[in-house]
Symmetry: C2
Subunit: 485 residues, 2 copies
C-alpha cells in the first residue's frame, strides 16, 4: 500500500500551499474523513487538506495534476453512496471545503445568494430568511451538509415538488478543474443561452469532473401561508389519487406530498422522541401534505380545508388531521425527516433510493413488496418518500431477531430484485443520492454502452489524468485495465 | 465550391436510405432551407434529406460519419442566429425533421408527453390541452417551430417566469449522435441522479453534438383562473418596483411580466392589425402582467385587482387596465407577441437578445440608450422583453428615412456597444436565441479561454470528425486551421 501513497516530500509540497496548520496527517484527525454514515466503506489517506480559498484549491489541483495525485473532494460528508470516501489503497488525498463556508453575497432584489462550496445548507437557509427570502432546499442533514456536496450530488429533499432539485436552484458555478484551472461561471442570470451547459454537467457529477468552490443560488419570496395535513389512505393507489387531486387543486401551491408505509411510521413512533400518532385508528399508508400560499395564512388554511373536504368526498383519504399550530407542523415534518434514522434501532436495513414515473408508484410498491417478501420472508419493509416525484426510499429492515450481518450480506441480491422491478417501470436506481461507489458497477450494467461511453468521453476530456475522485460514478481507466488483466 | 460538395454517388447513397421521394436535390425545392428569417445568411447545399424515423436519421449519420460529410439539422427553421443554415461552401447536407412530427404518447396521470423532434410546438400545446393539461412553452413562432429546435436552442418565450425555459420542461431525450449511434434517454422521471447530465448537454447545443429526434416533455395542470393587466409606468425603475411587488404578492401565480418601451408599443399600434392603446394618455413604459391561479377565475380576478390596488397605493404604476374578457386577454398578448414583427415596416433593425440580473435592468436600459443614441443619433430604440427574467430584446430601428443597408452595416459596431454594457452588468449576449453563427466569434471573444476550451473538448469528444452542424456555436477545427493560414 505504502508504495502508491504520496511520499513525504509531496505531502510537504501540498501542506505548503495552505499552511501546515490546515493540513491533517495525524491518523486520529484523519479518521472522520475515511468513513460514511452507513458504514459501507472505509477508505485510507495520508493527507487531508483544508484550503481557505478558490485559489488554494486551484494550487492544490495544479500540483495534484502535475504529480498525478488522485484527489477526493469532501464537503459535508453526509452522502449515502460513498462518493466522499477515499479509496482503500491510500493513494488519494482528501480536499475538504469546510473552511470555505462563507456567504459571499446576498441580494433580495435580484433574488440570489452566492455561497462558498463549503457553506452549510442551514446557513444558506438562514441567510435567505434574514432578508425575507426562501432558499427551498430542505434535507434531513441540512445542519451539516454543504452546498458543494448538495450540488455535486444534485440533492433533492422534500421541497422538490414545488421548487425542483439542486440543479433547478442553481444559477451559476465556480469550479476548480482537475488541471487547477478555475472556471468562473458565477453568473446570476435567469436566461443565458451561450454555448454548452457546463453548469449542469458539473452538477450531479459527484466531484469527478472538478471541485465546486462557489455557487449562485436562487432565492424565492417567502410564502405568507403554510399548512400541513397528515392523512391516512388504504393503499398506494388511494394515496396516488389523493396526490393527483392535490396537484390539480393546488398546482404550485402544493409544496410537499410524502407517502409513508405503516411499518416506517410505526418505527418512527417507537424510536423518535416526541413522535405520536395523530390519528386514532391504524391505517396501512399515510401521507403528509404541505401547501404554501403567497398571499396569506388564511388562504393556506382554506386551501387545505377545501382539499381535504374534496378528498373525503371523493373517497381518496380514510382519515386526516390538519396541523393547528406551527409546532404541530414541525412535529409532523419531524416524524417524516427522522424516518430513516428510526430504522436503526430495528437492526440492519437494505436501502433503495429509486424513482419511477409517478403513475407507476403503486404498481412498483406492490411488485417490490411481493418479490422482497418472497426472497426474505418476515422482512420489514419501510417504504416512504416523495410520491409526487415518484421517488421512494424503499428501505427494508431485517426480520425481527435476524442476524444483522447475514441480512446485510444480502444487500446486492435484494438490490437486484428491487432494481429489476424499478427498471421494468422505466425507473431510476438512484433518484436523489447519486452513484458514488455504491451503484457504479450497477450503473454500467443497466445502461446502454453508448451512455456509459459518452460519460467516459466527458470524463476523459475534463480529467485526462484521471485524478479527480477516481472510481466514483465511472470506473477509472486504470481500474478498467486492472479488471481486464 | 463543387470540389467540396458531396458527389453524385454519395448523394445516391444518402437518398437510398430514406427513399428518393424524400430527398430534395432540385434547387427550387432546396431554396427554403438556405435562408433564415432575418436575411443575415444564405447558405448552399446539394441535398436535403427528410427522414421518417430515428433509425433513418441514425443511418444517415452513420454514412455521414463514414464519409466525413457535414450535416446541418433543421427543424422549424425559425431560429434567429443562423444555426439551421448550411455553410456557403455547399459542403453540408441538411437533415430536416419535418416528417418526424408525431406525438408518440401522452399521459395525463404521469403528466408527460413524448413527441418527435419534428413535432410542431402548437401541436404539442394542443395535444396537452386535449387531455386538460398545459404545455407552457409559448413563442411567437409556435405555429411553425418544432420541438427539436426548441430543445436545441433551449427556447424561452413568455412563460419562463413561472415554468422555466425548455431545459426545465424536458424530462428525457432521444438523440442520434454524430456517429449514427442512438442514445435513448427517453426517461419520464422527475428525479434521476445516475451519472452525468447528458440531457442538459444536448439541450442548448444547437445541433452541434447530435440530432434530437424525440423528447419527453412535462405537462402541468391547467390553471383555472387567468387574468392579464396592462399598466403604464414612468420609468424602468418603476416597472421593476412593480415587478418586485407582483412577484412577492403572487409568487408562482405570476405567469408573465413583460416590459415595453413606448417606441415599441407605438410601432405595434401603428402596424399590427387590431392593436389599440387601451389607455387614454401616453406613457414612456408599459408592462403586461399575467397571473394564473390553480383554483378559480375569481381568485385570479381578485389577485389582479388587489395587486393593482397595492401598485397604485405604492405609486409603482401610473395607469392600468385589467382585461374584461378572454378576447381582451388575447388582444393584449397579441400586441406583445407581434412587437418584433411590427418593427419591420419601419426599416432596418439591429437586434439584441440580452439578459442582465433582474435588478440591473433599469441601469442597463439607461446606459444602453445613452450609448446607442450617441453612436446613432435619431435611432429609434424598441426595447421590450421579459423583465422578470432580466431578458430584454433590445432592438434598434433605423432613424426615419435613413438608408437601411447603411444602418444595418453598423450591426457589429452597435452590438459591441450594447454588449459591452451588458457584460459590465454580468449579463448574457444571448439570453434565449442561442449563438449559432451570429454570435460565435463574439462568444469566443468575451468568454475566458478555459470556458471555450471546455466546450471544444466536449465537441471533440462527441463529434471527433467535426461533421455535426460545423462552425455553429464554436469554430470547427478546420475553420480554426484556415484562420491561422
Amino acid at each position: 500500500m505504502s508504495i502508491s501513497m504520496p511520499d513525504k516530500a509531496l505531502i510537504e509540497q501540498f501542506k505548503a500551499i495552505i499552511g501546515p496548520a490546515h493540513a491533517l496527517t495525524d491518523p486520529a484527525d484523519i479518521e472522520p474523513y475515511l468513513t460514511e454514515n452507513r458504514g459501507l466503506y472505509r477508505g485510507n489517506t495520508s493527507l487531508v487538506l483544508k484550503p481557505a480559498s478558490t485559489e488554494e484549491v486551484a494550487a492544490i489541483m495544479k500540483l495534484a495534476s502535475q504529480t498525478k495525485t488522485p484527489v477526493v473532494p469532501a464537503a459535508g460528508r453526509t452522502g449515502h453512496v460513498g462518493g466522499h470516501v477515499p479509496r482503500e489503497s491510500g493513494t488519494d488525498i482528501v480536499v475538504s471545503l469546510e473552511r470555505m463556508d462563507k456567504i459571499r453575497r446576498i441580494d433580495a432584489t435580484a433574488n440570489y445568494i452566492i455561497a462558498d462550496g463549503g457553506a452549510i445548507l442551514a446557513d444558506v437557509q438562514k441567510a435567505a430568511d434574514g432578508i425575507d427570502r426562501l432558499f427551498p432546499l430542505s434535507l434531513g442533514s441540512e445542519g451539516s451538509c454543504r452546498i458543494g456536496g448538495n450540488l455535486a450530488t444534485n440533492a433533492g429533499g422534500t421541497a422538490v415538488l414545488a421548487y425542483g432539485n439542486m440543479r433547478n436552484l442553481c444559477l451559476g458555478l465556480e469550479v476548480v478543474l482537475p488541471t487547477g484551472e478555475i472556471w468562473n461561471g458565477l453568473r446570476s442570470l435567469k436566461k443565458d443561452n451561450t454555448g454548452y451547459d457546463l453548469r449542469d454537467l458539473f452538477i450531479g457529477a459527484e466531484g469527478t469532473l472538478g471541485i465546486i468552490t462557489g455557487a449562485v443560488l436562487k432565492l424565492f419570496p417567502k410564502p405568507r401561508g403554510h399548512q400541513v395535513a397528515f392523512a391516512a389512505t388504504s393503499s398506494p393507489e388511494q394515496a396516488l389519487a389523493f396526490f393527483n387531486l392535490a396537484s390539480n387543486r393546488c398546482a404550485s401551491a402544493l409544496t410537499g406530498f410524502e407517502i409513508m408505509a405503516r411499518m416506517a411510521f410505526d418505527f418512527t413512533i417507537k424510536h423518535t422522541d416526541g413522535a405520536r400518532d395523530p390519528l386514532t385508528a391504524k391505517y396501512p399508508w399515510y401521507t403528509l401534505v404541505d401547501v404554501s400560499t403567497s398571499d396569506s395564512q388564511d388562504a393556506a388554511d382554506a386551501m387545505m380545508q377545501s382539499l381535504l373536504e374534496d378528498a373525503f368526498e371523493q373517497g381518496v383519504v380514510e382519515d386526516a388531521v390538519i396541523a393547528k399550530s406551527q409546532s404541530e407542523i414541525d412535529e409532523l415534518w419531524h416524524m417524516r425527516n427522522t424516518m430513516s434514522e428510526a430504522q436503526k434501532p430495528e437492526g440492519g436495513s437494505i436501502k433503495h433510493d429509486v424513482s419511477v414515473p409517478v403513475s407507476s408508484v403503486p404498481a412498483f410498491l406492490h411488485e417490490a413488496d411481493a418479490a422482497v417478501m418472497k426472497a426474505v420472508p418476515d422482512a420489514r419493509i419501510c417504504a416512504f418518500g416523495h410520491i409526487g416525484d415518484g421517488n421512494i426510499h424503499y428501505n427494508i429492515s431485517q426480520p425481527k431477531g435476524a442476524d444483522k450481518a447475514a441480512f446485510l450480506a444480502r444487500w446486492g441480491e435484494v438490490n437486484k430484485i428491487v432494481h429489476a422491478i424499478v427498471l421494468s417501470h422505466g425507473g431510476s436506481i438512484s433518484a436523489e443520492h447519486g452513484i458514488g461507489r455504491l451503484k457504479r458497477d450497477e450503473l454500467a450494467d443497466i445502461r446502454e454502452p453508448i451512455e456509459i461511453d459518452l460519460m467516459q468521453r466527458i470524463k476523459q476530456a475534463f480529467d485526462p489524468e484521471g485524478i479527480m475522485n477516481p472510481d466514483k460514478v465511472l470506473k477509472s481507466r486504470t481500474t478498467l485495465k486492472d479488471d481486464r488483466s
